[in-house]
């Protein structure tokens, strides 16, 4: 937002590009969970574009992004976040876009030293070089700390009016936002990608391990954002809705998974992912019973719906807490 505004202030026409990888935190969980209903559900990139009065192009890169996540040349960050490869990928896509749409250069809001992996002085040239953007990539917020790019050398933008921000502190950006009259802006300290989340990353690794390869579909990674994931055996796991909103969301997947729900007591919808045996299904039903209001009952009736639509009822005693090892929780 600040980088775009800095360049727009120089009379340059700017349009936004937002790449959707499938892992963007933007609104997903807010849309699903009841408890988040009070939170604003705006898409931040759309909101920013509207505040700035610029067009925004949202580009679906879900398929192409798979290779970035599965084979990151520069490795992962603290979790499953391939930040440097991700940035190279996105700048490369932006380079392709400006060529196709007759734009002259690319700007990003990067700041030297802001992020430990992708925004270091050493990695800034790597992003420019490996993306193919080279000196068409201008970082207005820290440009004065970097060699002049083509837009600066050609006088398309005035380098003197660019900035020299460095480091992790957001104070200079907050001050700049105040100068521009922005009293609202998106969360400044990252957190916009599920891959930087420890719990989400653990579920992704579990998914890859259980299926024996790293390929995934959008639905796979969507489902990792929802519910409790419990894996009692390598060959199956349960996805347990934590509240009504999640139950409604999981309902949309009922035809693709074995599902369970308590008939005798109130309880959550549970999807079973994998290839459970009859014995495994009994254990899954016991776990399903454990998460409903019949958790202390002697017997709970659990409806089991198979993928082919056939149904049956299992009568089970809910599993006890002490019989559920912590290791089962993904």
């Amino acid at each position: 937002m600040l980088a775009a505004k800095t360049i727009m202030e120089q009379g340059v026409h700017v349009e936004g590009i937002n790449f959707f990888t499938g892992f963007c935190v933007e609104g997903h969980t807010h849309a699903i969970r009841e408890k988040d209903k009070a939170k604003p559900k705006r898409n931040n990139s759309l909101w920013v574009a509207e505040q700035l009065g610029m067009k925004l192009h949202i580009v679906d890169v879900i398929e192409e992004y798979k290779n970035v996540l599965i084979n990151p040349k520069h490795g992962y960050g603290a979790h499953m976040n391939p930040c440097l490869d991700c940035k190279i990928f996105m700048v490369n896509k932006a380079k392709q876009w400006i060529v196709e749409n007759d734009f002259d250069f690319i700007i990003t809001g990067e700041v030297i030293g802001q992020r430990p992996m992708s925004q270091r002085k050493a990695t800034m040239p790597i992003v420019a070089k490996e993306s193919g953007a080279d000196d068409l990539l201008l970082r207005p917020l820290c440009a004065k700390n970097l060699p002049a790019t083509l837009p600066e050398r050609e006088g398309w933008v005035d380098r003197e009016k660019l900035h020299d921000i460095t480091g992790r502190s957001r104070k200079p950006q907050i001050a700049m936002a105040e100068q521009f009259g922005f009293d609202d802006y998106s969360q400044p300290a990252g957190g916009c990608c599920f891959l930087t989340d420890k719990s989400y990353s653990a579920k992704l690794v579990d998914l890859w391990k259980s299926q024996g390869h790293k390929e995934y579909q959008l639905d796979d990674v969507m489902l990792l954002k929802v519910g409790r994931h419990i894996r009692p055996q390598p060959n199956f796991k349960l996805i347990v809705a934590r509240e009504e909103g999640e139950g409604r969301f999981l309902q949309g997947y009922k035809n693709e998974f074995i599902s369970m729900i308590s008939l005798s007591h109130r309880g959550p919808l549970v999807l079973i992912d994998g290839t459970p045996s009859a014995e495994d299904l009994y254990l899954a039903a016991q776990i399903t019973a454990r998460f409903g209001q019949g958790r202390d009952a002697e017997q709970v009736d659990i409806n089991v719906t198979m993928i082919d639509g056939s149904e049956r009822t299992l009568q089970v005693k809910p599993i006890r807490d002490e019989d559920m090892p912590k290791a089962w929780y993904v």
Partner: protein, 76 residues
């Protein structure tokens, strides 16, 4: 004038916007698009996308956990 329908049920933000964006590209000025979604975020996002891109939201309704927006394509 053509009226088309886009089923964006089960899609979460920003996919309903992306699908709307892609569908609108195929329509002409004056055509209308009805988008049916289950993500409540669309009630903010699709109108915002329309304002940015110069299209008009004719109607937005919510009920039974579904959200329906009727858009008129106003610019090419």
């Amino acid at each position: 004038m053509t009226i088309e329908t886009l089923n964006a049920r089960r899609l979460l933000c920003p996919l309903p916007v992306i699908r709307t964006q892609d569908k609108v590209k195929q329509l002409k000025v004056g055509d209308r698009l009805e988008v049916i979604c289950t993500d409540p975020g669309v009630m903010q996002d699709i109108p915002a996308w329309c304002r940015i891109n110069g299209h008009k939201v004719i109607a937005a309704t919510a009920g039974n956990h579904e959200y329906t927006l009727l858009i008129e394509v106003c610019s090419s």
